[in-house]
């Protein structure tokens, strides 16, 4: 990496400014990418990273600023122009057509293909690219059949197919398992060795330190600075990002679990496509404990949580809450009992994107006496409640009337967390609660979950981040293909390899026997 002379940049952005109603997303930001480098873009949630890259990709038009590609001034009126200039972007939320196949997605918007699609040639080119960059996909699979990791490979291939010289990866690892992320890094290194320039956005400091050559830090839309990765540290970057020192570690008290709150006996449930998604799940969660659920996304964790709050039908088995049978009760019953749910799908199940902050803050308690009088909403109460939530949970929002779709990922999560925790729940089910959150917000969410545990709450934590699970959980269930492969009583002492094997479908006893004994992470 040090052999690179500071070559002419592939792309240079100067004094970029972009405003949305109520927020300045970018203010006078300078940014460039050189051939053969990985340039990381760091910043808290809402710092303006995606906005800056969307401008580069022609999706947003800057209010002011200059864009030069290989020395020439350009102005993009649509992504089409950016693509033509060799810029590719893999978005934070993938832009793929679920009902179409991989190869169909691959050629969307391409010029110069014959009208009757040359399927064979397209397939061959996909296979050639995928073997060259180690991105294996089945060209004939439909997108909806693919895991998130595979979808991301398709999204990257889409850009390589267009011969992108500059590739923007917007939080590519947020949704990947550690193995998939490692795989992605191999691909990225292969691309830089060929002279591609990569922009890498991530909230995970270790990845940024390990992969990038330079780092640019944004804070509240402004440029803080650009530094060489080799001459900085995690702590320094974090300080530049949030403007103050940051302690990474979190504190977890030793607590004695109390009586069971939720008990599941042989619960089976079907997935969205009518295929069994959860089979014979048996476990309990006790007061004052966090039960972690590990597993690759899409192995039934989501569906399991949905059965526990009445959002998915239980085909067989029983769910008991505080010794009361609640199998297949309606969601309101679960809410009234104090079971609260933090879904992974924040803008779908968790919040109503087009409703504003205060409306969303009372969605789950609109029937409670505090915010309604004789069936009418008491808006003064609602606003003061929402204002309380926003200040207690540090939600940064232009106003209480802002539609939540305009909030950044971290702020959405804080708002939802605040709503769920404010009703003193007896149990919390949190699915990927730190997905896409910056370091400070991640720490905040984890601390809140630990605080809930201390307050006597039973917590179910579904995550793909093994480090998070090991740090947070008192016990750890590992799921694979809808089955719980085993529940580990002391996850921190279990070899990570054994957990990995269980995630891949090996039963607990076998996995523990074959992995070498020894403490903690290896």
């Amino acid at each position: 990496m040090d052999a690179r002379a500071p070559s002419k940049p592939l792309v240079r952005m100067e004094k970029i400014t972009k405003r949305f109603t109520g927020v300045t997303a970018n203010l006078d930001v300078d940014f460039d990418v050189r051939p053969g480098e990985v340039h990381a873009l760091l910043g808290e949630n809402g710092a303006g990273k995606s906005t800056l890259m969307n401008i580069l990709y022609g999706l947003y038009r800057p209010d002011s600023g200059v864009l030069t590609i290989e020395g020439k001034d350009v102005s993009f009126s649509s992504p089409r122009d950016a693509i033509a200039s060799g810029i590719g972007m893999v978005h934070q939320h993938f832009m793929l057509i679920p009902s179409q196949t991989v190869w169909e997605n691959m050629i969307l918007g391409l010029e110069g293909l014959s009208s009757v699609l040359p399927k064979r040639a397209i397939r061959e080119r996909i296979l050639e690219l995928s073997s060259r960059y180690g991105l294996s996909v089945d060209p004939d699979a439909k997108i909806w059949q693919l895991s998130i990791g595979e979808q991301q490979r398709v999204a990257i291939l889409q850009m390589l197919y267009r011969r992108a010289k500059i590739l923007v990866l917007d939080e590519p690892t947020a949704v990947l398992t550690p193995q998939e992320a490692e795989h992605l890094f191999v691909t990225v290194r292969q691309m830089t060795s060929e002279g591609h320039g990569i922009v890498f956005i991530s909230h995970k400091m270790d990845e940024v330190m390990g992969l990038s050559h330079r780092v640019t830090i944004l804070r509240k839309g402004r440029l803080v600075g650009t530094v060489d990765t080799a001459s900085t540290t995690k702590e320094k970057l974090a300080e530049m990002m949030i403007g103050q020192k940051m302690i990474f570690s979190i504190e977890k008290k030793e607590l004695q679990p109390g009586k069971p709150v939720i008990e599941c006996a042989s619960v089976c449930a079907l997935g969205d496509r009518g295929i069994p998604a959860v089979s014979r799940a048996t476990f309990m969660i006790r007061e004052q404990e966090i039960l972690g659920v590990a597993g690759v996304a899409g192995n039934g964790q989501q569906e399991l949580c949905e059965t526990l709050v009445g959002l998915r039908k239980v085909e067989s088995g029983a769910i008991r809450v505080n010794n009361e049978e609640l199998t297949n009760s309606i969601p309101k019953t679960f809410i009234d009992k104090g079971i609260h749910y933090i879904p992974a799908d924040r803008k779908g199940t968790g919040l109503v994107p087009n409703m504003n902050v205060s409306e969303n803050s009372i969605l789950k308690r609109y029937w409670s006496r505090a915010v309604s009088k004789k069936g009418f909403i008491d808006w003064k109460e609602v606003f003061s409640f929402a204002r309380g939530l926003v200040s207690r949970y540090n939600v940064s929002t232009p106003s209480m009337e802002t539609p939540v779709r305009n909030l950044s990922g971290g702020n959405l999560q804080k708002l939802m967390l605040g709503r769920e925790l404010s009703d003193s729940p007896i149990a919390i089910l949190a699915v990927h609660p730190t997905w896409g959150l910056d370091v400070a917000a991640t720490k905040f969410v984890r601390e809140q979950l630990l605080a809930a545990r201390e307050a006597g709450c039973a917590v179910l934590l579904v995550s793909e981040d093994l480090d998070e699970l090991l740090a947070m959980s008192d016990r750890l269930a590992v799921m694979c293909k809808g089955e719980i492969m085993g529940i580990l009583d002391s996850p921190a002492e279990t070899p990570v390899e054994a957990i990995g094997l269980m995630m891949a479908g090996t039963p607990a006893e076998e996995a523990l026997a074959s992995a070498p004994r020894g403490g903690g992470k290896s």
């Binding site: 693509i83 793929l96 057509i97 391409l110 009518g274």
Partner: protein
Amino acid sequence: MEILIPILTAAVRSGTPILYATLGEIVTEKGGILNLGLEGIMLLGAYAGFAVSYSTGNAWLGIAAAFFVGTLLGLVHAFICVTLKGNQVVSGLAMTMFGTGASSLLGRNFVGFTIPGLNKIPVPLLSDIPVIGPVLFNHDALIYCSYALVFFLCWFFNSTRQGLYLRATGDNPRAADAMGISVAKTRYFYTMVGAGIVAVGGAYMSVAYTKMWAEHMTAGRGWIAVALVIFAIWNPARAAFGAYLFGGVEAFQLRLQAAGTTIPAPILMMLPYLMTIGVLLFISIKKGKGIVFGAPASLGLPFFREERD
């Protein structure tokens, strides 16, 4: 069998206007634009087709005029829905009301007139096949065109580049846009072409089916077509099945009326509408488990590039 052949033959004939309308709406909706103006577009198509056929003496010029009028109405709808990002339902309903009123007004002077219209052209050889021959291959050319259109559209949606881009635009305009497809151009083009095809359906009523002009002559067929699109899960071949089903029941009830049954005529006239909806509802409930692919995921939603969703 002998009694069935005339009924089946009539089924194809009276199903054809609905088939055109349904195919046109499928083309429009595949791109994500909902056009509820079918009834109005069909009526204006029927009027334009009749008026031009009558004054020029050439039925095909009439059909072409109808297509042209349809594309103009499609252009208006596209302007409201794509450029102004207006409400598609409101625009469509307005189109229906406008088309109904305008066609009645314009057509006042043509009431009671007839034209020679399109002639039957039996297809050599094919029309000699027993049953299938007379039912499918003893019609006017516009019916043969509709067969071709069904096959063409199936192929177009699934095997061509433009068809793929069209589906992408209707399913996820954000993704299509990010991949360099022009969402606005695509939606304009197919809304216009779709409306043109719908109008040809209307013109079939006046130029080939009845060979005359009457106020409100489409009698709700545009609405049936709107429903058919959904039950056909945006599949042209299934649309043909639904359209001929309607046509079949229509032909059957006309025969019953002619035979002088005791069942009141209004009830008989309801039959085609009820049966079509009923049968297709039944099929889609049976098939309805799981996700129904075919429905464009962003149907009816305007696209704003810089807006978050």
